[in-house]
């Protein structure tokens, strides 16, 4: 009897279209980004680069250097730990193809950063930070544009393009000024879009 009752849930074509539409809406809702990771990494990077900029403008002492190192490491550890916990919690119930694609983009970007450093060291026999910073910015810009395209958020794509242009602009300046330009770029490309997405999360 129970089996029969359960099998009697056949329905008409209009209802089937309604079910498909409803489930598409559920999927779209899941894809909506609440901007938390953009806000997190925007603030973490903004503070690191701005702090580095101010440290470079005062005389170097051992204490200042160590303090800068501790702050940077603490912020990075906080950022990575928060990201990992957030992503594990989010993907607990369902793993989406878009989530996998985004993971590949950002992890490969980080690997590219390491490779660029190694290549730079092999070719130039030193690490030139004036060169490294704009190149890193270009990589972030690429990852941002790709993320925006996948999530279909024009604001993130625009942020990525601005980030790339600011990388080119930064290449005309000294390392200290590059740090200030990069900190501003993180505000424009991450913090502002992140807060907008977070505000719109319930729409």
């Amino acid at each position: 009897m129970e089996t029969e009752r359960r099998d009697l849930d056949s329905f008409d074509e209009n209802q089937s279209l309604k079910v498909i539409k409803e489930m598409i809406q559920v999927s779209q809702k899941r894809l909506k980004n609440n901007g938390i990771l953009f806000i997190l990494w925007g603030w973490v990077s903004f503070l690191i680069y701005l702090f580095e900029f101010f440290v470079k403008s005062i005389p170097h002492t051992y204490q200042v250097t160590m303090f800068k190192a501790y702050i940077t490491i603490a912020l990075m550890i906080f950022g990575i730990a928060f990201t990992l916990i957030y992503l594990i919690r989010k993907s607990r119930k369902a793993t989406t193809y878009i989530g996998i694609a985004l993971r590949y983009i950002w992890v490969s970007m980080c690997i590219c950063m390491v490779l660029i450093n190694l290549i730079q060291f092999n070719v130039l026999h030193k690490i030139t930070f004036e060169l490294q910073l704009p190149i890193y910015m270009v990589l972030v810009s690429f990852a941002l544009v790709a993320t925006g395209a996948i999530l279909r958020y024009k604001m993130i794509i625009a942020g990525g393009i601005i980030f790339g242009l600011m990388a080119y602009f930064a290449s005309f300046f000294s390392l200290q000024q590059q740090l200030l330009i990069e900190s501003i770029a993180w505000v424009i490309a991450f913090i502002i879009p992140g807060h907008v997405l977070y505000t719109k999360r319930k729409d």
Binding site: I24, V26, T95
Partner: protein, 100 residues
């Protein structure tokens, strides 16, 4: 002439399960239950039906002391869903033509 609708998919809960599973790589039982308006027992029953038709794969394991059921749509399931959507489209096209 209308194409016959797949009787496995032409059911509210089973169609909802397939529509949801198509948008994700894998989904836990609790995810489906949260998004489909049905009971635990009925969801479990409809999942078994889809599994018997080879439209989905079900992996059962444990997370701590709790059972964990993970569902994934198969290629056969994707093909069947595509055919079903085309058939539904044909139905609506014909319906609109008759209205004119």
């Amino acid at each position: 002439m209308f194409t016959d609708l797949d009787s496995i998919l032409h059911s509210q809960v089973r169609l909802a399960i397939m529509s949801l599973l198509l948008s994700v790589k894998t989904a836990e039982f609790s995810f489906l239950l949260e998004n489909i308006n049905t009971t635990k027992g009925n969801l479990s029953f409809q999942l078994t039906k889809l599994k018997e038709a080879d439209y989905i794969e079900i992996k059962k394991s444990f997370k701590g002391n709790y059972p964990l059921t993970i569902c994934e749509v198969t290629q056969k399931g994707i093909d069947a869903y595509e055919v079903y959507v085309i058939a539904i489209n044909e139905y609506f096209k014909e319906f609109r033509n008759n209205k004119k």
